[in-house]
């Protein structure tokens, strides 16, 4: 069986299983509507560290260590650590994996990194190159402000289109499917395993958007393109999924995505959601919603995984959205290149 389907899609022969995950979020996210799905909420944005960069690094480190502990996995069994974040040279992740000592593949897809890491991790496993893989990403509101915008105490009026970088780190453990043990007792009505069954990695799409305060608009065309390719490659349509959830398009980005898909003939899109729109209450003054690598990572490793386990959701299409610019590239007049990476995650019976 050929694992490549169509233009950009891969379908996994032995779908890698998501054994579990762990997430850490900041205080603001802890006050949000998804509170019940977070494993650890920081008491403040520093959490006892000297710098926010150290805090972010400790968050992703905690997420990885606790995930390993929670699911009783020996560190030596992890074949690859796939991690990334938003900071220059992905230092957050590199510092975080110092103690783990397993092969590290640094990932960068801006805010799409969680989807990218999950897709690549699943490929490594289904390709037979790995048995267990850690996928982790993080972002921190204040480190992102420092790098991409202004000093944190600088006063500015955020436009209504601006999104709030999520302080959060999420980790998933992917494992080769244990299809060799078909007799394992599974409580009836419970899913035996949550698996990554397919992935569509997207190319860069740049629609000339230049406003760093409206990244949803820069990413929406790339996300739409990846979704359309995915549907075309697999011969499916949006109705095939219980939920199609983008990473951090924000309020306007999600609306633009709906319009873009509508123009291509997909009009019933009630199952389309966005992690950035889910993570905060409307009264938390974030304007267009959350953003950042951590946004989709904590929603996936928390809310989505929990509902897949409960089987409220059986099949979801998780599509990370990234805007791959830097502060300097925008000052030099460049537009924002967008990207979208999609993975299909299903709750399967044994």
């Amino acid at each position: 069986m050929n694992k490549r389907v169509g233009q950009k899609t891969v379908v996994f022969q032995n779908p890698p299983e998501i054994v579990g995950g762990y997430n850490v979020v900041g205080p603001k996210e802890g006050q949000g509507p998804l509170n019940a799905h977070f494993d650890y909420v920081l008491p403040d944005t520093y959490n006892g560290e000297k710098t926010w960069e150290k805090t972010e690094s400790s968050m992703i480190e905690t997420a990885m260590n606790e995930a390993i502990k929670k699911h009783n996995i020996a560190v030596g069994d992890i074949d690859y650590v796939l991690a990334g974040d938003l900071l220059n040279q992905i230092t957050t992740s590199s510092y975080a994996v110092r103690q783990i000592g397993r092969p590290f593949i640094g990932m960068f897809g801006a805010c799409s990194t969680m989807a990218l890491a999950t897709a690549v991790g699943a490929m490594l496993i289904d390709g037979g190159f790995a048995g267990k893989v850690l996928c982790a990403t993080s972002s921190h509101h204040d480190t992102a402000e420092r790098q991409f915008r202004m000093p944190t105490e600088h006063g500015n009026q955020r436009p209504l289109t601006a999104q709030w970088t999520v302080t959060g780190a999420g980790c998933l453990i992917l494992s080769a499917g244990q299809s060799a043990q078909p007799d394992q007792a599974v409580p009836t009505g419970q899913p035996a395993k949550i698996c990554v069954t397919a992935a569509t990695l997207g190319g860069i799409l740049d629609y000339g958007q230049k406003d760093a305060n409206q990244m949803g608009a820069a990413m929406a065309p790339a996300v739409a393109d990846t979704l359309l390719t995915h549907f075309y490659d697999l011969g499916t349509s949006p109705e095939a999924y219980d939920l199609i959830v983008s990473g951090d398009l924000g309020t306007q980005g999600l609306q633009l995505l709906k319009e873009l898909l509508g123009k291509s003939g997909f009009h019933t899109l009630d199952n389309l959601q966005d992690c950035g729109c889910m993570i905060y209450h409307a009264n938390q003054d974030t304007h267009a919603g959350g953003s950042g690598c951590g946004c989709s990572a904590v929603v996936l490793s928390g809310y989505l995984l929990d509902h897949l386990r409960k089987r409220d959701l059986r099949k979801i299409l998780f599509i990370g959205s990234g805007s791959l610019h830097s502060k300097e590239s925008l000052l030099q007049g460049e537009s924002i290149p967008g990207i979208g990476h999609a993975v299909v995650i299903e709750a399967l019976d044994k």
């Binding site: 944005t45 926010w52 509101h141 204040d142 402000e145 000093p151 944190t152 105490e153 500015n156 009026q157 436009p159 230049k210 406003d211 760093a212 305060n213 409206q214």
Partner: protein
């Protein structure tokens, strides 16, 4: 304190407020690439020109802090300083601008340093 001394609060509030409304309009009605930093530059340059031409002086007399506290006031004293310095030749021109603004700049540098030493950003 005599009550009459407080009458100058009204023009200070009105003119100061109006200048800020002007800046707000410039921020909200321009493209996103026209950042608050660009807006501040417009006001400083405008203040300097108005100061050099002698137009800002009457406003400062009328509105007091309402004219000197917004950044146009900073431009005004620098522009005025350079033009007054011109009376003693090119050296006066070179020293005049920053010379007139020196008190504000030095105070800001000092306080910034002290704040950096004493406070930790809260985010």
């Amino acid at each position: 304190m005599p009550a009459s001394i407080w009458l100058n609060l009204i023009p200070a509030f009105l003119i100061g407020g109006l200048l800020c409304v002007g800046a707000q309009l410039l921020m909200d009605l321009t493209k996103p690439q026209f950042t608050p930093a660009h807006v501040l530059i417009v006001f400083v340059v405008a203040g300097a020109i108005a100061g050099a031409l002698g137009w800002y002086e009457p406003l400062a007399k009328f509105a007091g802090a309402g004219a000197t506290v917004p950044l146009t006031g900073f431009g005004y004293i620098m522009g005025k300083g350079a033009v007054e310095g011109a009376q003693s030749g090119i050296m006066g021109v070179l020293a005049g601008g920053i010379g007139a603004g020196a008190i504000g700049i030095t105070a800001a540098i000092l306080f910034s340093y002290i704040c950096a030493v004493s406070f930790k950003p809260k985010g």
